[in-house]
């Protein structure tokens, strides 16, 4: 696939995109290791290979733009500004975690950075984004709401109920679909005979676009256009990002249901490698920069690991105090 748009990419922007993607990539791979070592428990869904969408989208948002995600949310949380240490501490069930160990991987929430959260039931997050968009409208500003979901979510009734309502009320919600061709262990063709997610919303005639989700510049440019319109008061929009889930649906998934991507195939698709190749050929990335970027990310992630390991486990009786809001 061609590398993104032909327009020149500012070198500083390119470096920032790379840093953000490297941060997520190293973090997620480290979480994979920690899961195998039993330091992270429970159900964990990694977004290795899908960094470009999180970074291309969230990097342009303000704190007050509410972001929602599903069960594969680490990358989105980090891209929206959640500190690595607090995310990892949450995955390790520690008191220093974003939710003091109460939520875990599928329930990361960082209100301070406008990451209103990950949810565990497919599609359940979409109406939440409508609520944030409605509130933003009522408050009179130009903040928007963004919700990430996968291709499996759009067959659910709640998705189309939400699209109808958001269109009717012209709510500034940007629906970002990471279409990786699989919903859990089932390919899209077993879910629907409509191949493109953007066709599912065809009846509502909302602004929609399908982009190469492994090209962070393409994602970024398309989202920038949508964001500008949303801030002007347009209604909902759908950005479908075609991507690949490099690992299983969850950590430990034996993945007998699909062919593994060959290593050389992945070299072509990997969003980080693609941007690095472009950076080198465009001249804003030195030859030794990738190794340094990766190392910087590793240092940051190791500091997060240290923070998380040193964070105490929460006291068990904390839960009783949190049943009701006071």
């Amino acid at each position: 696939m061609p590398d993104g748009t032909a327009a020149r990419l500012d070198g500083d922007v390119g470096l920032e995109l790379l840093r953000s993607m490297w941060r997520i990539r190293v973090f997620e791979e480290r979480v994979g290791e920690l899961t195998r070592a039993d330091e992270v428990h429970g159900l964990v869904h990694l977004s290795v290979g899908q960094e470009a969408v999180a970074v291309g989208v969230c990097g342009q948002l303000r704190t007050e733009d509410a972001v929602y995600s599903g069960h594969r949310a680490h990358g989105h949380a980090i891209a929206k500004g959640a500190p690595l240490g607090r995310v990892l501490a949450e995955l390790m069930g520690r008191d220093g975690g974003l939710c003091r160990g109460l939520g875990g991987s599928m329930h990361l929430v960082d209100v301070e950075h406008g990451f209103l959260g990950a949810t565990g039931v497919v599609g359940g997050n979409v109406p939440l984004a409508l609520g944030s968009a409605l509130a933003g409208r009522l408050l009179g500003g130009d903040q928007v709401a963004v919700v990430f979901f996968g291709d499996g979510a759009v067959q659910g009734g709640v998705f189309v109920e939400s699209v109808n309502l958001a269109t009717l009320w012209a709510l500034p919600v940007i629906l970002v679909c990471e279409n990786n061709g699989f919903a859990e262990f089932t390919p899209r063709s077993a879910h629907t005979n409509v191949e493109r997610v953007s066709d599912v919303v065809a009846p509502y005639d909302i602004e929609r676009e399908t982009v190469d989700g492994n090209d962070v510049v393409a994602v970024r440019d398309a989202f920038a256009r949508f964001l500008a319109e949303a801030r002007q008061g347009s209604g909902p929009m759908l950005l479908e990002c075609l991507t690949h889930r490099l690992r299983g649906h969850y950590e430990g998934d034996p993945q007998r249901y699909r062919q593994a991507l060959a290593a050389d195939e992945w070299q072509e698709l990997d969003p980080i490698l693609r941007l690095e190749r472009r950076g080198v050929s465009d001249g804003w990335l030195e030859q030794d920069a990738p190794a340094r970027l990766e190392q910087d990310a590793r240092d940051e992630v190791e500091a997060a690991v240290l923070f998380a390991r040193e964070s105490p486990f929460p006291s068990p009786d904390m839960t009783a105090a949190l049943v009701y809001a006071t």
Partner: protein, 342 residues
Amino acid sequence: MSENGLPKERLIWMFTQMVRIREFEERVKSTFEEHPGVIRGHTHLADGAEASIVGSLAALRPDDQLTTTYRCHGYPIALGSDTKALMAEIYGRETGICKGYGGSMHLTDVERGFLGTSGIVGQGIPHAAGVAWGAQIRGKGQVVLSFFGDGASKQGAFHETLNIASLWKLPVVFVMENNNYQAYTRVEQEDANAAVGEPLAVKAKAFSMPGVTVDGGDPVAVYETMHAAVERARSGEGPTLVESLVYRLSAHGNIIVPPGVPLHYPEHEAIAIFGNVEEFEAAKRGDPVPRFRAQLVTDGTLSAEEADAIAEAARAEMDEAVEFGLASPLPAPERATDYVYA
């Protein structure tokens, strides 16, 4: 033979069923005035939708099946269910078609393929798909009709079911009777397509399914549209979304009030809530039953006397249904726990 190829007998049959449905529904409505207290709860009438109901059912074979909403009186009447048993059910009598257990919203006649209704908007749509799945397995070419209103198309169940039905090519036709109102709400107030003047049939685009809109006040047009959709389903090509434009001539349902206040039919929402007298008057002028009668008398299919005779027979039939219902006993109270488990 009419110009559209339907034999005269078929046209007369359609007219007869439309008249019978209208007479039945008028009796239900007048029961509130003439015999207060006999009908309890909520009833929903099909007056105004006769052409759509009859035109749809005319396309079926005897072994086809259907599910509908709680606005369900018209379908079993046209299918040939015993109108005495239907009225008795609405009157809560033990001689009712569901022995008094279901009432107006849950008329059922399994033998005639009328497999049931749901009182919850949209929830009968997946039921129909399940029945169609059974038909697909049996492989005898049976088709299932799923009737629902425009309001149901905003329910998740609609979206989920149409996607699966299209993917599995289930032998089902989805018939959306769009009467422009969802209870007291106008369709443009709640539907993004209607809000911009689009027909609701465009929703079919999301499922790679054909979507077609038809004048639900013209029984022959409905028949032709449904015939094509039913044959498509029967041949294994999958479902169609048919949007049938109707106008209900009564309010959404009777008023439900606390005990002691008589139930009655209020004014149509067009007037009561939106003050749109002209819309309602125009709908009455376009009433499909007299319209079809006039068409058949004009083109010679029926003489005026024959049409009158049909109406007279329908009146007599429905008078008898009322008498039967009123004379029938209520069920014994202890029968209440009879059908908990199969």
